[in-house]
């Protein structure tokens, strides 16, 4: 039997039709600033160029199952695990998990309801299926899921659901967020304290709804967190999805967003700040299934300190059915010190030629000494200058969230990271001064 569907291909960067956004604007941190002769401000940390290595398996063919027994234990060489410190999370991938409900804090807000539902409930499994063993392990471990239902129509209504101190025993969890047709709202998932957690978060945005989901990881230093987010976006609906990862030892949040209805739209943003020894990973998958679907992906991260590691993988699949797709993804990393590693891997698979645009950009740049000099030459101290530059770099993402309260809170959280990071610089500076 022959198929009319052409084989999916992974398109190398140079042949991607890029009609949406010019790459030039992108180079802000990679390019030497101004014309002053200085040492080139290039990429210092490791960046994995996607177009050199085809994925072993195209995204459209990746296996999915709810049954943990269907997955082999990963060896660490698999395309979706090879950049993760797998030894540190082995218990979450295949060990026993406590899947019982836990404490959540949420003040009631009109238009939102919070409840624990049985896994036999229709909402459970309504947005997707696990694609890796850690996700399947969590899926199998729970009898109940936390359900957040959005029915209100006020675009500025915000519902904060906080978890703190999930303990140090390996646990699984499951959350289902459902936005009713034409509803509006903002759901903020706040994570802090201890955790050894693998979880699934399902997000269903029904026709005409506009939902923002912000997941904020401000865990304790030793926390480990693996999360798979599955989203289905309905007809003419919009999902704004924001991942903010600041605290934790290993944090891996992988959103898969399926644009499965005509006119579905998503904006996926991310912000991370990896400190010494921290591993922050995000694998974003945008699946354009329906006509006239649109996606924008933008993740920005700062890295500071020995062993700080970030991973961003952006898979965009434009299926043959997705005529009129408009897609752009981008990842920017700002490297603040030696000893860090930023992996940045965009992948585009395009199965139809009939699209509005598909493009990507990725850069990893060192902190720009000329910017620092410029600010200092106006009387601003080195510490404050560094803070201004990093804050400016990350602010772009915070400003996309669309909630003053959340933006303010995240600005403060980033500020706190910066104070720590800048204390590190000051120490470096003092050491250099002493040697010279």
């Amino acid at each position: 039997m022959t198929s009319a569907t052409p084989a999916p291909t992974t398109v190398p960067e140079s042949t991607v039709p890029d009609s949406t956004v010019p790459e030039a604007a992108a180079a802000a941190f990679a390019a030497p600033a101004g014309g002053h002769r200085g040492e080139p401000v290039g990429s210092k940390s490791h960046t994995d160029g996607a177009w050199h290595e085809m994925p072993v398996q195209t995204r459209s063919e990746r296996y999915a199952s709810a049954d943990v027994g269907d997955f082999d234990d990963p060896s660490g060489h698999e395309v979706d695990w090879k950049l993760t410190p797998i030894k540190l999370v082995a218990d979450l991938i295949s060990g026993p998990l406590d899947g019982s409900p836990y404490d959540v804090t949420a003040s009631p807000v009109d238009g939102f309801t919070l409840s624990w539902i049985d896994r036999t409930d229709d909402r459970f499994g309504s947005a997707g299926l696990p694609e890796d063993k850690a996700s399947a392990n969590a899926w199998s471990s729970v009898d109940q899921a936390l359900a957040i239902d959005v029915t209100g129509e006020s675009p500025s209504a915000e519902f904060v659901v906080a978890r703190s101190g999930l303990g140090t025993v390996a646990r699984g969890a499951h959350t289902v967020i459902t936005a009713a047709a034409n509803s509006r709202g903002l759901v903020i998932l706040e994570n802090s304290g201890d955790a050894r957690l693998t979880e699934n978060v399902e997000i269903v945005v029904r026709d005409g709804a506009e939902l923002t989901v912000v997941s904020v990881q401000e865990w304790n230093d030793s926390a480990v967190h693996l999360a798979s987010h599955f989203a289905q976006v309905g007809r003419d609906a919009t999902l704004r999805h924001v991942v903010v990862s600041l605290g934790g030892s290993v944090v891996r949040v992988n959103p898969s967003i399926h644009l499965s209805s005509t006119g579905s739209n998503t904006e996926a943003y991310g912000l991370y700040f990896a400190d010494a020894g921290q591993h922050l990973e995000q694998r974003v998958y945008i699946d354009h299934e329906a006509e006239n679907s649109r996606s924008r992906v933008k993740y920005k991260g700062a890295l500071q300190g020995e062993g700080a590691h970030s991973v961003w993988v952006g898979d965009v699949l434009i299926r043959q059915t997705a005529n009129g797709t408009d897609s752009y993804e981008e990842n920017r990393n700002l490297v603040l010190s030696e000893g860090t590693r930023a992996d940045s891997i965009p992948n585009l698979e395009i199965e139809t030629g009939n699209i509005l645009g598909a493009g990507h950009a990725s850069s990893t740049g060192r902190f720009d000494d000329e910017q620092l000099f410029y600010l200092q030459s106006r009387g601003i101290s080195e510490e404050e200058a560094r803070r201004l530059v990093v804050r400016g770099f990350l602010a772009e993402i915070i400003q996309k969230i669309g909630s003053d309260a959340v933006e303010e809170r995240l600005t403060r959280a980033v500020e706190a990271e910066l104070v720590d990071a800048v204390a590190g610089f000051a120490a470096d500076g003092a050491a250099e001064g002493a040697v010279a």
Binding site: G34, R391, F393
Partner: protein, 278 residues
């Protein structure tokens, strides 16, 4: 009265091939309210002098001093020099993504004054300086220098000069890339700063045309890392007509004489050098 004194300044720059000597004994005394123009061929070290005064980390003062009212600047950090009253309008101003002009100006003003400026007066000052420099008010909310044209970047430098009110300003080719109207606007900005705060100016330029708007008290010819001639405004006219050839030749001859003298000392120098480096 304030004085900026540059004494026998020697400066080297870090390059890929190692350290390179650029300034070879610069002497200048600039008093408050005075304007000194520096003219010289490409690569003679004018920007190096500007950066050395501001304290750019790539430029190392190997000997000599920069004194502001008797206080040694060369040992101070870049920001401390700015707070002491020095300002550099850069030849190539840098873009700062994500930092708005408003935020930047307020942060700088607060740092220079040691406390935040009273809000109402400050906003008024910013507005009136911007309008005097014909900068649209939308610039306030744009990121510093990001997407600014060459001329807009230069105006933004002068805006900072007016608002931060330094004692001495080094203007490194502020006139380059400006059309006639912009040149006038920018020059007026400098002249306002001069009359309002009795600013001392070290003005680096290749062209006489800016000197028609900003009248120099002294003109210095800069060749091969040194001031080789000083005079009044008439010297600028002469340079524009005759070029630097004569000065370059004289300086090359002098350098050759020094080189042969140094060769004679080579044995001594090479023996001493490793000990110094180690």
């Amino acid at each position: 009265m304030s004085v900026l004194e540059i004494k026998d300044l020697h400066v080297s720059v870090d390059t890929e091939l190692g350290s390179k000597q650029i300034l070879r004994g610069v002497n200048l005394i600039i008093e408050q309210g005075q304007t000194h123009a520096i003219m010289g061929p490409n690569g003679s070290g004018k920007s190096t002098l500007a950066y050395a005064i501001a304290g750019h980390p790539k430029y190392h003062v190997t000997s000599g001093s920069i004194l502001l009212d008797g206080e040694e600047m060369t040992t101070l950090s870049v920001d401390a020099r700015a707070r002491a009253g020095l300002f550099l309008a850069m030849q190539y101003p840098v873009e700062i993504p994500g930092v708005t002009v408003t935020n930047f100006l307020r942060t700088a003003k607060t740092a220079i004054d040691g406390s935040a400026p009273p809000l109402r007066g400050w906003i008024k000052d910013v507005k009136s300086s911007m309008s005097a420099l014909r900068m649209d008010s939308t610039f306030a909310e744009r990121n510093v220098n990001e997407g600014f044209s060459g001329g807009e970047k230069k105006r933004n430098e002068i805006l900072q000069l007016e608002l931060l009110k330094p004692k001495f300003a080094v203007l490194d080719e502020t006139d380059s890339g400006l059309d006639v109207d912009a040149l006038k606007i920018v020059s007026e900005g400098v002249n306002r700063a001069k009359s309002n705060t009795d600013l001392g100016v070290l003005l680096i330029t290749h062209y006489n045309r800016i000197l028609r708007y900003i009248t120099p008290d002294f003109v210095h010819v800069f060749v091969a890392g040194q001031v080789v001639e000083s005079g009044g405004p008439e010297l600028a006219v002469q340079l524009e007509n005759e070029g630097y050839d004569e000065y370059v030749k004289a300086s090359a001859a002098a350098a050759a004489a020094i080189a042969s003298a140094e060769a004679a000392d080579a044995a001594v120098t090479s023996a001493a050098a490793p000990a110094v480096n180690a």
